[in-house]
Symmetry: C2
Subunit: 449 residues, 2 copies
Amino acid sequence: MSKKMRLAAFVTAGPGRPGGWRYPGSVPGWLDASYYHNIARTLEDGRFDLAFFPDILSVPDRFGGSTDSQLRYGALGSLRVDPLPVMASMAAVTRHLGIAATVSTSYAQPFSVARTFASLDHLTAGRSAWNIVTSFQESEARNFNLDAQFDRSTRYERADEFLQVAAKLWDSWEDDALVLDEQAPLFADPDRVHRIDHQGQYFTVRGPLNVPRPPQGYPVLIQAGASSKGKDFAAHWSDVIFCSHASKESAQSFYTEIKERAATFGRDPDRIKILPSITPIVAPTAARAKELAAEIFELVPPLGGLSTLAYHLDVDLSTFPLDERLPEVEVPGVEGHYHEVREITERDGLTLRQLGKQYGGRTEGDFIGTAAEVADGLQEWFTDGAADGFTLQVPYQPGGFETFTRQVVPELQKRGLFRTEYEGVTLRENLGLDRPARGEWTTRAGGAA
Amino acid sequence: MSKKMRLAAFVTAGPGRPGGWRYPGSVPGWLDASYYHNIARTLEDGRFDLAFFPDILSVPDRFGGSTDSQLRYGALGSLRVDPLPVMASMAAVTRHLGIAATVSTSYAQPFSVARTFASLDHLTAGRSAWNIVTSFQESEARNFNLDAQFDRSTRYERADEFLQVAAKLWDSWEDDALVLDEQAPLFADPDRVHRIDHQGQYFTVRGPLNVPRPPQGYPVLIQAGASSKGKDFAAHWSDVIFCSHASKESAQSFYTEIKERAATFGRDPDRIKILPSITPIVAPTAARAKELAAEIFELVPPLGGLSTLAYHLDVDLSTFPLDERLPEVEVPGVEGHYHEVREITERDGLTLRQLGKQYGGRTEGDFIGTAAEVADGLQEWFTDGAADGFTLQVPYQPGGFETFTRQVVPELQKRGLFRTEYEGVTLRENLGLDRPARGEWTTRAGGAA
Ligand SMILES: Cc1cc2nc3c(=O)[nH]c(=O)nc-3n(C[C@H](O)[C@H](O)[C@H](O)COP(=O)(O)O)c2cc1C
Ligand SMILES: Cc1cc2nc3c(=O)[nH]c(=O)nc-3n(C[C@H](O)[C@H](O)[C@H](O)COP(=O)(O)O)c2cc1C
């Protein structure tokens, strides 16, 4: 049996790429449960490993100090439903699909987050995943009593301690602590439920959790840090790493680097799945795919893309001339996105306006074509050590998921690159990841050291 | 058309009354989504207004300074799944049932809570409710970086400001702000989405929310404060009040008092629904009902009940002699529960051990009998100005809900006391409550003044 690729779907609980909501195949159902139920069923039909929900805790106002461009153009941060109830709702209509929600360690408390994910992991019978972010928006800090966000190293230090507390809480009930002996009576064995008595720099938490150990031990942990600290954190804690690259070469070097870091920290590099994001455009002919890509691109308002880029980089791009190239800038936000943008700007000689449109409507070039051509591209990244699988982004929801599932998935299955049936019950089983034993956090801690 | 009573069901996302999990009709499915789906379908078949989930953020250790008695006896605070994902999951398999989750204002942030409920209100198409609690356990504070909880007046001051911020965030999108004009393009009208710029004593929040105004304006707000400050808060903010009384007389005086307070604060007393909790035991004959009550009572471990009472009162009851009456004590915890317990202790001359069993297994005397007898009792409370309806507690889950729905509900319907079909789409419509206009919070604020 050959190695299989993993597929995650990047689903936004709100409009995705600026312009995507304007496309005829897009359905503006982000506020309705049925919208997510349909997507969940499509992805489960396509045997996806998981649906992945990004998140943000504000309407960004980094572009010109105002939320106007986000709202007007329906950019990525304009409207965003809380992904946690979406996860629970999707799980109610599926049986195999894993579901990942993004939760920030900077604006939440570990007891609450550990409990919510333990609860979700039980309610989904082991299909939950947590995309751990540290957040990077001033506008988010301002919704949580702060004038400014913590600096990056504080954010990652806090995140590392946050994960330690969460893992200790997941471990606070031994796996067999719930006894349910009606005669004795013995509901849970007090000797197998433990306080954690955590006293750290950022958190003081006594425990135990009031939820038994999750079916997966810990929910699947996902991370997308792109700075050096971020990559360290990811290599320490992640089961799955999500990233974004403009070329196979940059994906390869990221892949190699992360797997090496993980090994250095005593983790099995095979137990960390790296899933770069892709945005394929698929059509019956290559010519039609190109045309479709152009139609979709046409709908992207440049200022919508720039507004999103401004918040991703945390740089007010409204202060630069629109018809010149973006000069090199200090990026307090997501370095990963900046690397990608620099690569595109230089390669294609884009002005800022063109960059805005490109960033809003970007579709990696390798993945535009017929289903077979797209499968070729994915196969190449997969076999050339650039990816363990992919995170599918679509130019418009939910149509993009349907097209990929009906056309590209069968092509991948035919080639033996992708499953035809789910292998296991839990998400970890499907991803080929071990269930962490109690105490595994001790080998994972230290991401900020 | 005569006035109809409202029915809520008190559902625990964990074992309920100590001993309940030992009853043969109990199913230990608190960790499974299907368990909640079954209950939700039963309640919707019974045309219940809503399912109500209590909550707690720790395993209490108030009894003898240890969590042992909670865990061993499966008491109320031993295991508790997060009610928010449960709400989302139940909503996915129902169309009319309202669903209420308890969230504390003492350990959460208003931006997160407002966003979660706005999201849930959209995903449920207007069926969400928030049971607002201020929390009253030292053990909860210790899971959230504190040595001791805030004192009661701080808790209510914070709760009042918390609600102001949440309501301002729900109001931050005007009702018609989401335009979705693909041509313009105009996704949302920036002139109809507003920052809140809240700067208060406990919270600084800029807004706007990243979720449009909830279908219900605000989710239905529920409260159960029993102290003087608690009753003020409830009369200011609540749409629904949940309480617990050992006799019709005490329920009547509470009912009158709350409605008067609400009027004093400029609110329409009719728009606040008071739903005392009841725990009926129903059987084909009165004699069998008594027997059944005794069987269920037999299963309650006295220390399980005392352990729960200790945490409700926040008093270490392990320090008092078990075979004497509980003396009068200072109660930092829930005064409402203390009033009830004093009433029972005096009336029935109970020792502490007996009180523990009684508290763990209590079933209000008026409501043990045949379906017709139970309906008589409910009718009397309803027509005598003790209640606008009831919150049904059951001695064991899910069987208790099925029995009540199959036997008592038809009896109430026959008498014209209860609906046979849902009247509206949203929970507010079914409860006969207006949708709050933007800015209604200004007339509700001040609960702590
Ligand atoms: C592909 C990708 C997706 C991301 N998705 C989110 C997200 O949904 N929410 C969020 O707050 N941060 C998101 N981030 C940001 C990272 O998780 C991280 O917080 C950010 O990169 C800052 O960390 P760094 O300093 O290590 O780059 C994403 C980053 C990348 C590269
Ligand atoms: C019937 C009833 C049910 C309650 N349910 C909860 C609950 O689920 N979680 C919680 O933290 N507090 C609960 N409470 C406590 C109250 O919401 C409130 O926090 C407590 O009564 C302290 O406020 P007080 O000082 O006004 O009594 C309940 C109280 C009553 C009377």
